[in-house]
Symmetry: C2
Subunit: 444 residues, 2 copies
């Protein structure tokens, strides 16, 4: 894409309303714009990042045998009255009436609707187990929306739901999601640590929050240094197995959020305990028959009995991840995108726009890279080189190629790695080989 | 995908609430479920079709140089008061208040919000022209939602917006969308005919509806037989040119919706005039400075003047297309999906589930086809062959492979084309070559 044609309104100044770094950088780099309090428009470059994250989340859900469907944003209040949550949910739920005075709401989550769809369709043990998910916009009417995407009102979430005959089968579903989440966050370039979370009245130990560490995190977290040293889970996984070994390899080490952490009872020595700030990016939860009983979602077992299905729900904050990745990966000059979610793999900078020869060569490089399906952002604007350098650092694409008069005389260009800052002069020809295998994000 | 694992609750009986064929078939084939009046959940197989259509729409917008972004579903009422449409829009607009009593609404369309985003970002002629689009859920509170996806309340729409310095440039944008729409509908297997539509108070001739012909269409349409005989536009297009020749080759022939048709003034002989029923699947519209004036979206020209930008908007009903394609392509036994949007390319039927040898061979065929990345739906359920045959016809995947005892003895399987009904026995080995190049829809 040529920068001159791209709809990318970057800002020169830090927007005063933005208190945290991800919010500042998202606004400054022209990725998002606020349209109402806590509600954002995704401009083309931010949208690309959002879609790449969404696609990685999707692929890992699919691999785990989770089937995608799509529930609507607007739900009937009736179902929430059935589950008993209509009154409990409070003012965060956006409630209103349609033209016929029927009570409806903008879904803040989907346990009720999913249970309703399930109970209409599935009656027999033969159709279990089932793992279903969707990726949809949700709305929570936060009293003070702030921190940009981190606590917005309209947000994109992946939520999965498991349906099983009994606890043992439900635990397998839980483990699948546990492992799928580890893989998802690893692919996003994040070190996410599963931490035991409160389960509420249901009890049990099947509730984990996935937390990434960042200095600007919303809450204090504590964990064993060994968890930070663990390699991310990127090998292929046999989802047919019970996966207990992988889950245990994480849960056997101490990790707790502020509310669960007890310095006195903490089983590891202080020297081994990491105290940091964390951002929640996922939450998995087994809740047994809570909704199936309330909403009469029963099935017939092989023995002819009627039982309530065991359920769990599993969420990932997709739009929140855009901000969380920035909180975990930036420097003083801007965003540093992991390659897997970068809006472009490579930024091409024409450092001397007024030099016809440099412009010609840069154009050739651009054309060739596009032919190789490299996602390249070509800064062809009539701007000073300094502006282009700082803009490209701000945007945070993983690689930069800088074409200047002097280099071109020697047939070379400068290649800069955004993350390490490392620069090297390489011959123009060797660019194509170097970036031939650069990961091309799926355009969708 | 194995049918036994797929969440696909087909119905044996025709649902009584469904008046038109697409609604009946979508419910019976387990593609969608109604969750409230005019609001639907997309079950996994319906969701696949929806995403494939969305992706084709997206690719053709991208080729035309239109940049994707994403506006939120919830909008502030303020913008609509600025444009003057807040009172005009009537009860179809779903209006409500947030917890702080601010007036908000669920966007039924996005001219106001897009104009607002544009005017904040673009001030100079240098940044024009711009073509922007998004694909997002919208809501119109129909007084009597009916006909399933054809007139639902929550629906998925692609809407594009063009911003230009003057009429001539705006016309080029209009032509781009005109041509992109022709290409889009052709790829969807539809014969869509652009028909001149009413432009309202603005006047001019830059408004076309894209109509597909179907016996169950919502309105009467009239057009020159020559338009039906035209080849669909599938060649590559040079979007840099003005495209006028392609546009003229369509608009030079008579085509009118009921409200525009005048039998007396109709310039072609009755023998050449086709009278049929039509379904609107797209609408393109140039509206000049209507919104830019009302909302003060001005830019500075090269000469230093302030002028209002010329705008157009261009819609495609993405979720409506799922129904429209079925209306245009079905028979007495079920849906006939065009290959480009079929949920699976191929249905594999084990006709004798009780026969261990047949089951083993069918399983081998399934594994091999999956390795070839063919999207195959394998009916491995413990059901009668007749049930599987009628289910597969209902679902409407383009090809069926039927594996039975007799054929397997001779090393052959039956291949059936869903559309033509043609059947042939071919050797088991030749399946793999035959379906090696079958189009694999993008999984996203």
């Amino acid at each position: 894409m040529r920068r001159s044609a791209l709809f990318l309104p970057t800002l020169k100044e830090n927007p005063t309303e933005a208190q945290i770094i991800s919010h500042r950088l998202l606004l400054r780099s022209g990725m998002i714009r606020q349209t109402s309090a806590g509600i954002y428009c995704w401009l083309p470059m931010g949208f690309k990042v959002l879609k790449k994250i969404e696609q990685i989340v999707r692929e890992e859900q699919d691999k785990a045998g989770c089937q995608e469907l799509l529930m609507p944003t607007i739900q009937s209040a009736e179902l929430w009255k059935e589950s008993g949550r209509y009154n409990d949910y409070g003012k965060e739920m956006l409630r209103f009436k349609d033209r016929h005075e029927r009570e409806i709401l903008y879904g803040p989550t989907n346990e009720e609707l999913m249970t309703d769809i399930f109970r209409q369709a599935v009656k027999s043990y033969r159709d279990l187990p089932k793992l279903l998910y969707h990726i949809q916009w949700k709305f929570r009417d936060e009293v003070r929306p702030r921190f940009g995407l981190m606590r917005g009102r309209e947000f994109l979430m992946k939520d999965s739901y498991s349906f099983d005959l009994d606890y043992d089968s439900a635990k397998k579903a839980y483990n699948k999601m546990f492992v799928a989440y580890l893989r998802t966050f690893a692919r996003l370039g994040l070190k996410a640590i599963p931490m035991q979370a409160a389960t509420g009245p249901i009890g049990g130990d099947l509730s984990h929050e996935f937390i990434i560490l960042a200095d600007t995190g919303e809450s204090a977290v504590y964990c064993d240094q060994k968890l930070l040293d663990k390699n991310p889970l990127q090998d292929s996984v046999h989802y047919e197995s019970d996966l207990q070994e992988i889950v245990d390899s994480w849960t056997s080490h101490y990790a707790a959020t502020d509310e669960k952490h007890d310095p006195v009872r903490c089983p590891i020595p202080t020297s081994q305990l990491v105290s940091a700030r964390g951002i929640e990016v996922g939450h998995i939860f087994y809740f047994g028959t809570k909704y199936s009983e309330a909403m009469k979602a029963s099935i017939t077992t092989q023995e002819g009995q009627n039982i309530y299905v065991h359920m769990g729900s599993y969420g990932i904050g997709v739009s929140r991840l855009v901000a969380a990745i920035i909180e975990a990966s930036h420097d003083d000059t801007g965003i540093i995108w992991p390659e897997s979610v970068a809006p472009y793999s490579l930024g091409l900078i024409n450092a001397v726009q007024s030099d016809a020869h440099v412009t010609k060569i840069t154009g050739q490089i651009y054309d060739q890279l596009r032919q190789q399906n490299v996602e390249v952002l070509y800064d062809d604007r009539d701007e000073r080189a300094g502006t282009k350098f700082s803009d490209m650092d701000l945007i945070g694409v993983p690689w930069q190629i800088i074409v200047g008069t002097k280099g071109i005389k020697n047939g070379t260009v400068e290649v800069k790695n955004r993350k390490t800052g490392q620069r090297e002069m390489i011959s123009q020809e060797s660019i194509y080989a170097k970036f031939n295998n650069i990961k091309v994000g799926l355009r969708c």
